[in-house]
């Protein structure tokens, strides 16, 4: 696994200068056949603006091109974040089967594009390696209740499933990218315990977690999840890329801050939440938030004031608006620029158990990638931690804004141009920009 610092150092020197002197950037020269845009092999442009027929599968085509040993370039802000791939029958076949629009480029056309990129707030970032992706889900989970696994599945990007035993055993180091979705790291079963008591799926969730805790030597599920949260924190600290959505964002932070504090309700661990829990939390150990006030009621499916929308608390619930992606300088801030590549700047919001992040709880160094104009919350945030990075996106499913338990799964073939899902896939390809350390 390569740390963020070396990654950024390389990125910083790999943008435009890559075009000027590509050989300098790579310790291992690429074969011209596998390398786009060098002038020796033909290139295919995968436009990501409104000319693209299937934005989501375009990420899969790019990922698989990398997987076949080729390289690619991510043309940040050029036609809404297009990809440049080496032309060849395999790529063309893949694109045709996937319904992904591609444009063959003449050498002259490519020069023109590079000129446009150089003259504008754009950059070309080399993508060299398909990242090893892991998703934290129970082993038996179907992919259909998790926006990321749905996106990966639809785009055709391979991923491994990891769960508590793998995290506790330190196996996260085998992966570059880890995704968390609606896991409750406070060990309170998403606080559905009272509202959905008696339902089979909840009983199974409790049984499975309790057995795992016992097998791994933890006294309670809450203790197990704190241990898992710690494993995830170490993964990021040592250079991993973390992407989390929905409840995982908020509860991971609470679990990290609550290492020595009981934040779980009595139904979960046999003892009530510490009466002074909010005051005792240690926020120096977390990625994104601080000064958080916990929700004390065990029957309210809300965890804290991190979430701005409080969807399961009718008295506090906020209506959905739309969020706006920020613009960054592609040449100076390539990482946030990659994360916000999209063909829409304003995207309809969508609920989740954690929908958004209150501005008042954000740590000062957090980079806001998207917010709702004038609202006291933000939607999409990013930051560094140790040698790694983390990115949090609020909400559950970008194309099912009011997702309920038991709703039918989203069929992404009906939303091939989903801007919200693009944000997820930006995160998947973002570690692909990771490069070998320069020999200095």
């Amino acid at each position: 696994m390569i740390g963020r610092r070396s990654f950024l150092r390389v990125l910083g020197s790999a943008g435009l200068s890559h075009m000027a002197a590509p050989a300098v950037l790579s310790a291992r020269p690429l074969s011209s056949a596998m390398r786009p845009g060098t002038g020796q092999g033909a290139s295919l442009l995968v436009p990501m603006d409104d000319r693209q027929s299937n934005h989501l599968k375009a990420y899969g085509v790019t990922y698989r091109s990398l997987g076949r040993g080729g390289t690619a370039e991510w043309l940040l802000n050029y036609r809404d974040g297009s990809f440049l791939l080496p032309d060849g029958s395999a790529v063309r076949r893949d694109a045709a089967l996937s319904g992904v629009a591609c444009e063959p480029l003449s050498p002259g056309g490519l020069v023109d594009i590079r000129g446009v990129i150089q003259a504008n707030n754009m950059d070309a970032v080399p993508l060299e390696k398909a990242p090893k992706v892991a998703v934290y889900v129970p082993p038996s989970a179907a992919p259909w209740d998790d926006a990321v696994t749905m996106a990966l599945q639809y785009a055709g990007i391979e991923y491994a499933k990891v769960w508590d035993p793998e995290v506790v055993a330190g196996r996260l180091q085998d992966y570059e990218w880890l995704h968390l979705h609606h896991e409750d790291f406070t060990g309170q079963f998403s606080k559905f315990y009272l509202m959905y008591s008696g339902s089979a799926w909840l009983a199974e969730m409790v049984r499975q977690n309790a057995r795992t805790a016992r097998d791994l030597g933890f006294g309670t599920v809450a203790a197990l999840k704190k241990g898992v949260a710690e494993g995830i924190r170490r993964f990021v600290e040592q250079g991993g890329f973390l992407f989390a959505m929905c409840t995982a964002t908020e509860t991971l932070e609470i679990a990290l801050a609550a290492r020595d504090v009981d934040v779980a309700a009595q139904y979960s661990d046999g003892t009530p939440m510490d009466a002074r829990a909010s005051e005792l939390l240690e926020w120096s150990r977390t990625f994104a938030f601080e000064n958080v006030v916990l929700e004390r009621s065990p029957s309210t499916a809300s965890f804290s004031n991190i979430d701005g929308h409080q969807v399961n608390s009718p008295a506090r619930r906020q209506v959905l608006g739309a969020f706006r992606l920020f613009n960054f300088s592609a040449k100076i801030d390539p990482v946030p620029t990659m994360l916000v590549q999209c063909h829409r700047q304003v995207i309809p919001d969508f609920y989740g158990l954690t929908t958004s992040f209150s501005r008042s709880t954000l740590k000062p160094g957090v980079t806001i990638l998207a917010d709702e104009n004038g609202a006291p919350w933000v939607k999409y945030i990013h930051g560094d931690y140790g040698d790694g990075t983390w990115t949090f996106l609020g909400g559950h499913d970008p194309e099912d804004p009011q997702h309920q338990i038991g709703d039918p799964p989203t069929d992404l073939s009906l939303y091939p141009n989903s801007p919200g899902y693009r944000l997820i896939l930006n995160n998947v390809l973002f570690p692909a920009a990771q490069k070998r350390e320069l020999k200095t």
């Binding site: 319904g99 639809y154 509202m195 809300s302 608390s313 009718p314 506090r316 073939s413």
Partner: protein, 599 residues
């Protein structure tokens, strides 16, 4: 509940009424709009200096000071205003809200206690105090405040507020208890109660129902139960409950029935239609004259929608022949003819139509005539259908004449009629179906092919198996690229639609052997892939779909092929779409092979 609330509103109105049209307040608002918050605050203060009852100025001052982070500077001014107008609920509420916004929980409590001490008989202090607690996320505290208020005020005071708080806390049984108490005090809470309880999780619903259908409770609670059941898409149970809980007063009962019937419309299931029909039938009994007749027609339509054609006829038969106003009678008769036709009593429907034809509304006449013609066609009596349409020059009639020509094997005539009818005759499904057949006929290079006409008529009559045989036989009379491939592909797709996969595979492969590159090939390949999926050969399906996508990139079938490829590969879900999902052929409308009517 009602009296104290009225009192508090009156108090507010008194303040509002006392204020002159304030230019200063207006300038404060203008400054605020321009973002000049400091100056706006000064303007609002100036207004309040001369008119402490100016609600607009208070609200403006609260807004701008909150934005400036200086809300605490409002409190002394507010304190003095309250001293002068201690009965002002508005100022008291503002004080609670401001202390809460400042995060001064103790001051909120103290202000609320002062308000209660001043006006111990009204619920407002508890209501607003609880709301501030709730906004801070202190649900339990909010509930306790309301319970304290009830203990002091007595009875079921603050029931709607408690219900809301219980719902927010997920305590649904408690919420149902409170809503029951609220509607017993004032039935107008029913709408809010039903809207709130509608959101109850599935697992909590039985507990809620136990409360709302408790036989020891008043009927108004049962009526709430009926409304909640409808909101949970359980209209028939709702009707059972309402039926036994109607008020004795006829006007109020009629209101309840109308409301119930209206609520069931959006559900759109046969059960909802049946519940609606019962409610409207009862409404017809309770009302008189035109209102009664309208209810009866509505009940008949609802019974028909529910599939209970006998009940629909029972509702209509007296109406259509009795002393009903002519318009109502004609409308009822149109419905009766439709119901009779849908019951399969074609001769009777035809007779009634001929008797009433002159008195029906023009659009009903046209629609019924075409429905009857289509029904005669399905019966195989093409002559009677033609006779019915003789005087009909509408484009819908042209379309039906096209079908008549087709069933007689007159492919040229059918093509001409379909073209003349254009895309707007009949429903969208009907137009799609016509277009699909027109596309097929354009590839069959014959002016006349009676066997194909016979096949199409059999299809219309629902005998798909026999139709496929005739179609395959008709194909043998055609050249490979002169329609054979198209007819075989069409027949194969019909077999797929009726899950006859063995015959489908054979026909589709024959079609592709006849012409693997022509316009029939993509749909044939798609249908073949469906056959492979349905017979447990996903690898063959993937190969076929990839071939289709890569060989016919411009075909309209390709998006569906990609979608199926995703399903077969597990890239998108298919479980909830049902097992028949990939079986559906996008180019064959269901009615082509179901023999549906044009009614």
């Amino acid at each position: 509940m009602g009296a104290p609330r009225v009192a508090s509103y009156l108090c507010l109105l008194t303040i509002v009424g006392a204020q002159p049209a304030s230019a200063q307040s207006g300038s404060g608002l203008e400054l605020e709009r321009r973002g000049r918050h400091h100056e706006a605050a000064a303007a609002y203060r100036e207004t309040l200096g001369s008119d402490q009852a100016n609600v607009g100025a208070w609200l403006g001052l609260e807004r701008v000071l909150t934005r400036l982070g200086r809300l605490e500077t409002m409190m002394s001014l507010l304190d003095s205003a309250i001293s002068r107008s201690p009965a002002s609920n508005f100022l008291r509420e503002l004080e609670l809200r401001a202390w809460a916004a400042l995060g001064q929980g103790d001051s909120v409590s103290a202000a609320a206690e002062r308000w209660i001490a001043y006006a111990p008989e009204i619920p407002d202090p508890y209501r607003h105090w609880a709301r501030t607690a709730s906004r801070r996320g202190e649900s339990a505290r909010a509930i306790q405040i309301l319970l304290d208020g009830r203990a002091r005020l007595g009875g079921s005071a603050l029931a709607p507020e408690l219900a809301q708080m219980y719902m927010a806390a997920g305590a649904w049984a408690g919420a149902a208890e409170e809503w029951a108490a609220a509607v017993m005090l004032d039935e107008s809470h029913t709408t809010a109660a039903a809207a709130g309880l509608r959101q109850a999780p599935e697992l909590q619903r039985d507990r809620i129902l136990m409360i709302l259908v408790d036989p020891h409770r008043e009927k108004v609670v049962h009526r709430l139960g009926a409304e909640v059941l409808v909101s949970w898409n359980r209209p028939e149970e709702g009707w059972t409950l309402l039926d036994s809980a109607l008020p004795a007063d006829r006007t109020r009962a009629a209101t309840s029935l109308s409301r119930f019937a209206d609520r069931t419309v959006r559900i759109g299931t046969p059960g909802a239609a049946r519940a609606r029909a019962y409610a409207l039938e009862r409404l017809a009994e309770l009302t008189q004259g035109a209102a009664s007749e309208r209810a009866r027609v509505g009940a008949a339509q609802a019974f028909a929608d529910a599939g209970d054609l006998a009940a629909a006829r029972r509702m209509l038969e007296t109406l259509a022949t009795a002393d009903a106003p002519p318009g109502d009678a004609a409308s009822a008769m149109a419905t009766l003819i439709r119901v009779t036709l849908e019951s399969g009593r074609l001769e009777e429907a035809d007779t009634r139509f001929r008797v009433w034809e002159e008195r029906l509304r023009a659009d009903d006449t046209e629609r019924l005539r075409q429905s009857l013609a289509s029904a005669w066609i399905r019966r195989g009596e093409l002559g009677r259908a033609e006779q019915l349409l003789a005087a009909d020059s509408s484009i819908a009639a042209l379309a039906i004449r096209g079908w008549l020509a087709l069933y007689r094997g007159d492919l040229f005539g059918a093509t001409e009629y379909f073209r003349a009818a254009g895309p707007r005759a009949g429903s969208r499904e009907e137009a799609t179906r016509r277009t699909a057949i027109l596309a097929l006929l354009q590839n069959v290079r014959r002016d006349s092919l009676p066997r194909l006409g016979r096949a199409m008529l059999l299809l219309e009559q629902g005998d798909t198996s026999e139709a496929v045989d005739h179609m395959a036989e008709a194909a043998t009379h055609l050249d490979d690229v002169g329609g054979r491939a198209h007819l075989l592909a069409f027949a194969g797709r019909l077999c797929v639609a009726r899950s006859d996969f063995g015959r489908a595979e054979s026909l589709l492969q024959r079609a592709l052997a006849a012409d693997s590159v022509g316009s029939a090939a993509p749909a044939a390949e798609y249908a073949l892939a469906v056959t492979y999926v349905e017979t447990g050969r996903p690898e063959a399906a993937v190969r076929q779909l990839e071939h289709l996508i890569l060989s016919h990139a411009g075909s309209a079938v390709v998006p569906e092929a990609r979608r199926m490829l995703d399903q077969v590969r597990g890239a998108i879900p298919r479980a909830d779409a049902g097992e028949s999902a990939p079986k559906r052929d996008p180019l064959i409308e269901d009615r082509v092979f179901r023999g549906g009517s044009a009614v």
